[in-house]
Amino acid sequence: MVSLSRFFFRPEKEDVDRAFRILRNISGGALRASGVQFGYLYEEEPYSGGLLLELGMLDEFREYGMKLASFFHSRGGVKRIITVDPHTANALNRLRSLVGLEAEVIPYLKLIKPRISGRFAIHDSCLYSRHLGMREDIRAMMRTAGAEVVEDQIVTSRSGAVCCGAPLGGPLSTDLSDSIARHRAESLGRLGTQVISFCRSARAACRGTASRQGTSLR
């Protein structure tokens, strides 16, 4: 998997550092502050296999998933897995039906109680919103946190919002991926608010355009 992921995605050092920062903020900050008790396996933390699933390699994903289920079983029967990104949440959820992964899978967003102020347009994660049914949960969390959520029928609605194009970038077409990301960032920017992305890939894909047009993208 490591060699495969290198072929498709080579993160910049800045992105790696930022990813670790986010992970520390989620684990040591948001989750602990919300009173959640959890364990962490450090170097033994396994990969979800999400890349195989999203590339349509279902047989390989199933095979990898069986090993993963066995790993969790061997670690004392993990009962609950907290995920920190939508791709992992979706992949592990699929493994529950595909290979009988027993652990409950819960995105960290459902556990935290953040405080946020300001007006935001939401760029949904396609997986959270469309596949995992969390669209309204995320809006409720934002409002409870103190944010004003700005909606637009074309740009952020259930039927009007579109993907950032990032998943096309590696395996299919970087040009097309970039064009879609530019289009998405421009649409969000026209709303004149801060933008909060619930997908790390989408933030990475859109940040160049957002920066050029002066949109705050979090």
Binding site: I154, S159, V162, G165, I180, H183, R184
Partner: protein, 342 residues
Amino acid sequence: MMGGQWDVAIERALQNNIPRVEQILSENPYILDLAREIRETKLAVLEHLDDYVQKTIRAVERTGGRAYLARDAEEARKIVDDIIGERKRVVFSKSNVAYEVGLREHLVSRGLDAWETDLGEYLIQLTGEPPAHIVFPPALHMPKEAVGDLLNRFLNGAVNSGSTHEEMVAAVRSFLMEKYMKAQVGITGANAVAADTGSVALLENEGNIRMDTVVPEVHIAITGIDKIVPTLHDAMKELIVQAAYGGLYPPSYINISSGPSSTADIELKRVSPATGPREFHVILLDNGRSMANRDPGLREALLCIKCGRCYFSCPVYRVMGASWGRPALRRPPHGRDVVRHY
């Protein structure tokens, strides 16, 4: 990437469609229930598709029509050729299956005078380009100014890029009216086909389908076997759902054709034809659909009711327009093409 003219056209289409569909669904919540019911109904048909095809054929023939199962595009074109015979003048309503089998181009290449009567599809015929959308409007990629320029060339200067929308529509109507009145054959698709009555159900707003199905002496409906539903009641539900997601609700016209025209107004003796067509033909096209139906993943594609709403939620379509996915983007799924393109 298309850019320029496409960006203007797609932005106008989004602004016109998305809020309208949301409003229709919120004001008529029963439509969501109908959509769920239609999905289950179509799944049940696909479980026994061969049986439903035979049932539909028998029902069409009970009402005095003729029904055919075409294995592929070539067979479909041959059936149409045999029905048309020596006739020369044909009008088409927009049909994705006719497009799939290349029917209009085939008839024109044989020297027939064949015209699309859906306004958007008529524009597509004039440009010679593939349609930019499967339903509405096929000429989505053309802003009003481009339409005016096109019509100016083909309608002897009747309108131009500065003409109003109304003037352009009136000019096309005037041209097509002569074609309707002289047509010997009307070719339509079908939004749904009822297996119990053999009825072809068609949805429209322009009135062209009503003309195509009534004025010529022969009506040919060509459609995929995936359009079969068990009953006429199911067909009506499908039309309602499709109209709503198309953003045009209620539809101006719903057409149901069951057999050739007839009357029993003199001594209750059934006489055919009456005012409408003397011949009614239904061609059910397979062209890989049965093969797709055997695959659990591809079967999902056969549930599509072709409302075209998904185009507006597709980021690739928004950016690239009609230049992506040709021909799979706008062609119903069938067999090897599905495997190759999807």
